[in-house]
């Protein structure tokens, strides 16, 4: 699957490049790189949120939108579906991926656990961008307990 590899390599280079710029990272420098990365993911998510649901019928409720993220968006970007979606029915959703393609090449287990979060920032932005095009303001954070399993927590902001 050569196409999947292209995005993985590009993503690895993006993270490496944004990290290298602040080769002497104080906490401020690190944060800016992550913001830039998340912002990139956000813009890509906005465009995908317009293009992917083009042929599908209108979403009736929030849960439909999250299901769309787990199935169609994940398949389009990572060629697999999200492994589990949980919710507390009060605006918080936890999406779990048991073998996240951007982490699976790195390690499996606890090695490189501290490095893992920066490889998830782009994807957090992607989720946030897609949700924003579909009309949902949210906050997305990611956590890794052991590679390559990771969880994305989506908190819907009520206005």
């Amino acid at each position: 699957m050569a196409d999947a590899a292209l995005f993985e390599f590009l993503h690895t280079e993006m993270v490496a490049e944004l990290w290298a710029h602040h080769s002497d990272p104080g906490p401020g420098g690190q944060k800016m790189s992550l913001c830039v990365l998340e912002g990139m993911g956000f813009r890509v998510g906005q465009a995908l949120g317009e293009r992917l649901p083009q042929e599908t019928l209108a979403f009736r409720e929030e849960l439909d939108v999250l299901k769309f993220l787990c199935k169609d968006l994940w398949v389009a970007v990572f060629q697999k579906q999200m492994d589990s979606l949980r919710t507390n029915h009060q605006g918080t959703y936890v999406l779990q991926d048991n073998s996240f393609p951007l982490l699976i090449r790195m390690a499996s287990g606890l090695q490189y656990l501290e490095e893992a979060p920066k490889f998830l920032t782009f994807t957090c932005g992607l989720l946030r961008g897609t949700l924003s095009t579909l009309g949902i303001k949210s906050l997305v954070t990611a956590s890794v307990a052991s590679l390559p399993t990771c969880k994305f927590q989506v908190v819907i902001q009520k206005t």
């Binding site: 813009r43 906005q46 465009a47 949120g49 317009e50 293009r51 649901p53 083009q54 599908t56 019928l57 209108a58 979403f59 009736r60 095009t133 579909l134 009309g135």
Partner: protein, 147 residues
């Protein structure tokens, strides 16, 4: 023949509006503005009706006969809403040829795919007015299409 095409953002401000006989531009702007209420009504009505699937194409909003302007047009307004709550409103002059439903649907599909292309343009900031020439030429082709 489409006489006016408008793309309205989800916050209800126009991203793109263009009408063909330019002397009546203000009137068309006003028509599109009033059609937005009808669009909102249709969206909320469908939501409450618990329909399993909701289509993006909303169909004929409402027609008017216009005798104040000579020659008199039969102007029909059609609406379409995308999943991202962006609305397309089209005012069509159907006094010459009765455009079939399918043709209107295909015009909206073309609009939708051109709009998606504009969204994917990295030089376009979502929320700005649409200035893409490709989009302009697609709309021009729709306006002179069926005469």
């Amino acid at each position: 023949m489409a006489v006016c095409v408008a793309v309205i953002a989800k916050e209800n401000y126009p991203l793109y509006i263009r009408s063909s006989p330019t002397e009546n531009e203000l009137k068309f702007h006003y028509m599109v503005h009033t059609s937005l209420d009808v669009v909102d009504e249709k969206i909320s009505a469908m939501g409450k009706a618990l329909v399993d699937q909701r289509e993006l194409y909303l169909g004929l909003l409402y027609p008017t006969e216009d005798h104040k302007v000579y020659p008199s047009y039969l102007l029909c307004r059609y609406g379409y809403v995308t999943n991202s709550k962006v609305k397309f409103v089209m005012v069509v002059d159907s006094s010459n040829t009765a455009l079939r439903d399918n043709e209107i649907r295909s015009m909206f599909r073309k609009l939708h795919s051109s709009y998606t292309d504009v969204m994917c343009n990295p030089f376009y900031n979502p929320g700005d007015r649409i200035q893409s020439r490709a989009f302009d030429s697609m709309v021009t082709s729709m306006m002179v299409q069926v005469c």
